[in-house]
Amino acid sequence: MKTRCSNFTTVKRVFAIVLLAAMASGEARAAEWNVPRVGHLLSFPRDHGSHPDFKIEWWYLTGHLFAGERRFGFQATFFRLGQAPVDVPAGEDFGTEQLYLAHMGLSDPALGVFLHEERLNRGGWDAGAKVGDLDVFNGNWSLKRDEAGMSLEGTILAEAAMSLRLVPKKGHVIFGEDGISRKGPEGTAASYYITYTRLAAVGSILIAGEEVAVTGEAWMDHEISSSQLDRNQIGWDWACLQFFDGREIMGYVLRTGDGKASDFSKLVWIAEDGALTHVRHGDYEWRHGGSWTSLVTGATYPISPLIRTTDPASGKERQLRLVPLMEDQEMVGAAGGVSYWEGACDVRDEVTGEVVGRAYLEMTGYADDIGEKLR
């Protein structure tokens, strides 16, 4: 195996350098990037599409799929990374303005298998995102919106494939105050944050050479920004919780270099009718729990946090424990240089011990300082 790969590894190692240079170079254009503006009205479906005048954008799908007794977790992410201008542009097949990074992950807790793949391409013949409506692709992966919903096509190496129809069960919500989600005191560290909190998923999964019909529920974020993190933030813990009662929570803690949580950390309850209840930092607690160390990156992740918050419906305090379906759900980033943990969990009421919903948990900045790459 070693000899097979070595031909390109020599080449590859150098291109890790080239690539990071390319990703970092966005900074040179900071002044020119558009930034989310207070009070700006988003319009759809246009704003489901790409915003190439912003530096960073992603379409982020996570979800839980079921086939009889079998259960899977999946993640499909399409990133767009705006680039600094170049001296001499190449043709449209090898675009220079955008890089497209994408991640695909599939967890099969019964087998204890977590499959994932990462790819990076220039905007051009093999990757791109449409302006005006949702239509992104990267190699043979794609996410496309139509009148009835969305279609997701993805593969992980030649090991697995997924083909899903995703239909919103609730309308999209826009997080943040006045239409923008702030991530730090600097005005630029903010994003437009559009989310479908509950999508019905139907389709099929190919795994271990076997095609399985699946149904389930998914969550989709679409975030548009030019600077996701503030200077002293090193990473975040984020989770989306989908309760069986039809409500959801989206919450995150932005971690700063001194080990504290940023004041811009946030938690939001989404009611059945889509009404948002914002909980400020300090009014909820995110306590680290559980611990798993990656053999690949060496990073240690607190994979089973406890969230304490007040239920806006009952006014009572809830203690919600995220229980990962499996420990190793680390997305190792080679091309993007960013590794993070993104995994399917159950939500357990810590008081009653009852499973009350399902969640996807994301932890960044444990393997490396993600801030460097996303500021």
Partner: protein, 876 residues
Amino acid sequence: MSDPVSSLPVGRLLWSRFIWRHWCREPALTLMLVGILALGVAVFLAVRLANKAAVTGFGMFTESVSGESDFLLRPKAGLLDGAILREVRSLSGRAPLGIFPVLESSGVFADEVEGGLLRFVGTDLVALRNAANFVAGGEKGKGISFSQEEGQASPLGVSRVIYAGEAFAKAHAVKAGDEITVIVNDTPAVLTLGGILPSDPNRAEVPENLVLMDLPALQALAGREDRLSRLELRIPPGATAERVRQEMATRFAAFATERGLILETPGERKSSVTQMSSAFRLNLTILSGLALLVGVYLIMQAMEAAVVKRRGEIAILRSLGVTPGQIRRAWLVEGFILGLVGSVVGVVLGRVLAVGMVAAIGKTVNTIYYETTSSAVTLESGELLFSLVFGVVASVLAGLVPARDAAMTPPAQAMRQGTQGGGLTLLRRWPPGLIFLVAGFACAMLPPLRLEGGTVVPLGGYLAAMMLVFAASILIGVLFRPVAALLGAERDAAMRCYAASQLRRPEGRHRLTAAGLAVAIGMSAAMGILVASFETTLTSWIRQLLKADLYVAAAGASSVTNENSLSAATWQRILELPGVAGADKLQRYTISLEGKDVYLGGADYNDDAERFLQLIWIDPPDEKGPRALSGEGRTKAPAWVSESFSRRFGYGKGDTLELPVESAVQEVEITGVYAEYGNEAGTILVGREFTSRWFKDDRTSQMAIYTEAGADAEAVLETISAEFPGVMARTNEKLRTESIRIFHQTFAVTYALEAIAVIIAVAGLGLALAGLLLERRNELATLRALGATRRSIALASMWEGIGLALVGLAGGYVLSFVLGWVLIHVINPQSFGWTLSYRVPWLSFAALALVTLATAALVSWAVGYRNANLRSDREE
């Protein structure tokens, strides 16, 4: 007399008590035997490894930029349009398929315009990163942190950044960040070395002349916007990989057929490359065969000498009741063990030797075919095992004769009768020699063997060469009498007469030695004849061909693989320079015809009835004028093909060819066949107006310029050089000298290998003489009793050695004339389709003879001097 003893314990006894102790008692002799064997095996292995390296050196990057691709999709001729990328992606549908576009181009260093060629490989360097996904267990660690310099442009655009291997950095003394000026096509460009591709200990180094660039950057640099050389298609690992591979194979095979493209696995690509270097491999085959044959003779001699030395001991063993069979087996075991030890040492040595040899061979191969890196020698266990087994088998085979001789030793009681010796009866009868001779000539008449895929193997020629070598080793016996007569002519020189008397009744050992020498000399000299004939033919061909005053090409044009060309603007401006009367123009392409690569030339000759390139005709066309290829008044384009093309594909005058060019098939009619020694793949010449239309290409790879009467060619050359720095211009004379230089470089390695063969043969002669003297120690005692001094015995030995060398040389040269004939008239035309005129390099033959005689004299004198005081076995 019951209780018959099984031979096994006896064998073990003979081994532990005799063979082993002899080795320990005479470590120097044992070491020499092992050394000789090791050298033979080493040369054999080195040649094989070096040969392989030359082939894989090129294959490596042709094979794949992205690692090991599953398929390559390439055009039969020319380049692909970039639009094919989206088509291929949509054709692959949902299947996980990595599509890596590659463009290859070439260039040269601006300050080494006549130096080696740089191969540019362009691929999407961003997407290349994804190749990790296509390797099972591929490395997916963290990225390397890197901070970009303020104000530096993003590498995503059309950059001037290149990446090269450590060999490149070392050879040109550059480091990352340095600027390098290269000439691509005819234009100089300043490029920055962006980084060094680290070498991987498990893999061959990145070839010294390979330069990697981002695809759009190279497309811009080479003036090949939106064009691609090939697509590499890869399927990632996984449970369904095989299913996907099969599905893709079917889908893309149909696509390739529909579009007239070639879909192949890297292995298939490699084999077509391999074929290209067959001329070179033929040389190496002959040479490694030579080293081996001589090696086998040598082993035989050395073991035979040992038999003689231990004759008395064998006789005692026999008198004690050891059977001849047991003796024979013991000797075979000895041969086997020597062979094993020698081969193991040889394999190690050969591996080391191969690296050095690849450097030498690489130089040769570079010149004609393509480039290699010396570390491209990979340790192939298959090759090693093959050489090991070969060495052992050869030494056991070589040990058969001495073992038989040893087994024929009578018991000690009979030794007194003086019936010893007489073992080697081999080579003593001439009828088998005649049979081999006749069979040899018969084999030479056989037609070549045509393998699947169009490879032609001159099997009959090889067989003939082998038979003739056998014939010569047997028939050489007839030369002893005349040589003895020659030496013994002067009756006053006592020691010389004594030496002559030995040769008058040659023993088996004499014959074996002379045969070994004759084979070495014969094969070396035959190679000499081949090279000389090649050179004569080539020189006269070049003289005939090079009639123009100046030759102009894009830098680096001395290599066939060069893809640099002069742009239309450049060549048109050159034609308008003062003093330039006109020019022949040729643009060259590589196309794939019937699955094999051949050259297609678009020729536009100087419109002057006298002054234009005139070919040497094998089958001349009806019209030969400068406009004969223009195709005026013809429905199909007329084409002239080279002799090698004609032989390789079996097409001749009057036949119609279907040429695949980029998007279509073009029919041409062969109107003539001409001689060409520039390449063995074959060339098709058509009018340049056709190729520029077919390939949408108005460049030209080379121009032969005719100056106006009275104009100074040198002055015109200076103008061209000054005005076009990326253009390489040479005068007629300089081009000729360079052609000859390239030719000599091609054969550089053959000279070294020949030298090794002759050295081994002379060493064998020394060994044989030592054996003879040992066998004659009673006689030596008598000579001493008669008043011969140590020096005079050495003198006798020297004359005997000279006599042997004379026999070997005479036989060897006769053999070489015949072998040369087989090489030139049978093997050569069959394998490359080249007609050569036979020429013997008398001067170098004389030199070789003198050197061999002198060395033989020296060695045999030394052997005589050393052994002169051997005790007779009567004096113990």
